[in-house]
Point group: C2
Chain length 290, copies 2
């Protein structure tokens, strides 16, 4: 993958509104593997330097999404112990990136499996946005009487994509505006959302509107779980930047004097979270579990 191709695909990753944090991390690792395979470096030391730069660029692409950053850092660390022979080093670096992607996929699946066991039969789940891990929870429960309440998740309404998929699995699904979340939280047995980042203080970053759902669930004594792989845990203390996307996504005309804001993520504080459900347990006995 030459510089031009890398920049183009990096831009695509930055602009991607469709994929969740885990999916983007895996896309990033696949790009990393391709960079390793196609690198023109003649010596391992050059290769290491070149791939470390790629890892940094990829790791910084989506500041609100920790798995991309975390997995790229893991990969960058693995570059320290590459074989001396450059061909072997290329193969090893590529293999490590793909293995990390596979670990992430497996962790997400295990988090979903543990969560589905926690939910049990004949339950109604309210969620927010589109999480591939939460989709897997519904998939595991589709013959066990599960029902869904799915808000639109403006501006791009990825809730619509989730609702469509659940309907195809014959899961009875109610699709609502984000503004109706206060009316519907109390009709669910539990709220389950994915996350883009888990923070060390037990809070979680996810698509804007998640915080409102958490408050509504808390108000109505509905348990609120965050279900995701533990690669989403952000190692640093301070909260990462909440990415702001193009105001044009709201579709508002250019009214004079009006600024359109499109912050994509919000932070749900730990006291509103009943527990994290990760591959390590549901609720995860670590930080975030009550």
């Amino acid at each position: 993958m030459n510089d031009e191709e890398f920049q183009r695909r990096l831009e695509e990753l930055i602009e991607d509104r469709h994929s969740g944090a885990s999916e983007l991390a895996r896309l990033g690792l696949e790009m990393a593997a391709q960079c390793a395979q196609s690198a023109e470096a003649k010596k391992t030391i050059e290769l290491r330097h070149y791939l470390a730069e790629r890892a940094e660029a990829l790791g910084a692409a989506r500041p609100s999404m920790s798995p991309l950053k975390n997995l790229m850092e893991n990969w960058k660390e693995s570059l320290e112990v590459l074989p001396d022979e450059v061909g072997e080093a290329r193969a090893k670096a590529a293999e490590t990136a793909l293995r990390l992607a596979e670990q992430s996929t497996k962790a997400s699946f295990e988090a979903a499996a543990l969560t589905s066991a926690l939910v049990g039969d004949n339950k109604t789940i309210i969620t927010h946005s589109f999480s591939s891990t939460v989709l897997e929870v519904f998939h595991l429960l589709k013959n066990r009487g599960v029902q869904a309440i799915v808000p639109e998740s403006r501006p791009l309404c990825e809730g619509g994509e989730l609702a469509e998929r659940l309907g195809q699995w014959d899961i009875p699904t109610t699709y609502i505006t984000d503004a109706q979340v206060g009316l519907f939280a109390g009709r669910a047995d539990m709220a389950i959302v994915g996350a883009d980042t888990l923070l060390a203080d037990g809070s979680a970053i996810n698509k804007a509107g998640t915080f409102l759902l958490a408050m509504a669930a808390h108000d109505q004594d509905v348990p609120f779980y965050v279900c995701c792989e533990s690669f989403k845990l952000c190692p640093q203390e301070e909260s990462p930047e909440l990415e702001e996307m193009s105001p044009a996504e709201l579709g508002a005309p250019p009214w004079p004097g009006v600024t359109v804001s499109n912050i994509y993520f919000d932070v749900t504080p730990a006291h509103l979270i009943t527990g994290w459900c990760t591959e390590r347990g549901a609720p995860d006995p670590g930080i975030g579990g009550k």
Copy 2:
């Protein structure tokens, strides 16, 4: 106004998504006045019976909106003391309807004036949906450094109409998705919303999403005021029906297995309301004030 014309305009009132509760009440009173003026009754007793039926039909048209019901009941009561001469009775019934509409307009304006005095200079107000009374609050504050945060208010985005109007008055306005309300409530000095109905227990019915704003404001120690005329107080104990509108308003395709829900109103409980601001005071010293 003949039966056919009355039915047509009643349907329009039921289908009206644009006008607020007070505006619809005034439209209803104007229809009542026209019914009185054009009634074919030969005796006052017949006129009274005919107009009482019209009042009942109009009062039942929008169950989530108390002023229409309340003002129609006031008008119906006034029919009990019409003059014996039928011409005079017609004129009196029409005049009473128009006087009630005028009282409602005056009460809304006074509520807005008292609220603007409460707000003071250089404040940022977050609101929800489009309230003509809240619009008047902004109008009174437009040269006093006021700023606005306005959510879309899906499905029909009447927040957009409010944002456009505020921008035209050079009020710096930030327009956001309903899902971003949790991110923005803490940036406001106070939240001010209108209401469709005030309930005897101190709670308020308003456009869906208001309850979420109230929770976010409470979480972030931002005072939350409900500003409206006191004709919106619902006399009965139990909460009126929360009207559900056409699912088509969400614009979702007909996904198999998915039910689209479009409940237009939610109930904000008294403990989340700092105070009501009505023409009787801001905060209203009656029920709802803390």
